[in-house]
Symmetry: C2
Subunit: 169 residues, 2 copies
Amino acid sequence: MIDKIYDDLNKCINDVFNACSNYACEGVEQNIGGPFGAGIIRKIDNKYKIICIERNTVIYSKDATCHAEINAIKAASKLLNKCFLDDCILVTSAKSCPMCLSAACWAKIPVIYYSQSYDNATSSGFKDNSISEYIKGNNDKLIQEVQIKNEECIRPFKIWNEKQDKICY
Amino acid sequence: MIDKIYDDLNKCINDVFNACSNYACEGVEQNIGGPFGAGIIRKIDNKYKIICIERNTVIYSKDATCHAEINAIKAASKLLNKCFLDDCILVTSAKSCPMCLSAACWAKIPVIYYSQSYDNATSSGFKDNSISEYIKGNNDKLIQEVQIKNEECIRPFKIWNEKQDKICY
């Protein structure tokens, strides 16, 4: 499947849904992580290729950032040896939480195809929706953010702003 | 500094601001990443210990997820061998983008101390604020999210919901 070249994007997306869901099912059964899978498709000359299939590994990795999409973005970046995946498509079994959605934005991924809504995650005990509501300003109890102004923290910005050969992202 | 035990949280935060800003300055000069640094403090018996000092490594790592806070959460999780950092404090040179803010929520970090606002990041060309506005529903052009319902993607949730020995997070 990984080496196959697809003419039909929908067929390719469907294969990613199936593969990452199977992988996520195994991951849940083995206590590797939550019930989420994701994959990345690359578009090359109007054809499509699956770059990677990943799953949530929060428990196994002992790392709260190891969501399926973060794992997929990291794997694709490594495989393609680049940080901007603007020729790629993210396919994920469930709507991306704000962490993964923002990661896709930073990676310049233009489109995400997802299957299950936040409702599925919420009813299985996950806080995707409450984090999203926190960012929207509708939930003030999730985390405390305190600003302490510090002059030293301005220095990196000054160096960045003045640097001629910086690589913007 | 890393081995020091602090009685005074403000002194500890100040040392993290200084150390992570210096590290970020070097990172900008060497084209390792953007002008951002972060550190994690652990609270132990009402005293404070700096666990790690990290910086943005997006360019060097060729990975758009390698923000200072994500690097810090990953480093602290590895050092402490656990995915929940509920006894830790995140200190960051600039207000966390939605990716890093959500990562802190997932890691159960109760509080973030930050110095510079989104305005600093925006005026240096970074899209922290536009990603935040996208999640709030005020900016519809950043990324496209398309739902395609797929029966296979429900299976991992069903297995999760029925699993007796699952480790919730």
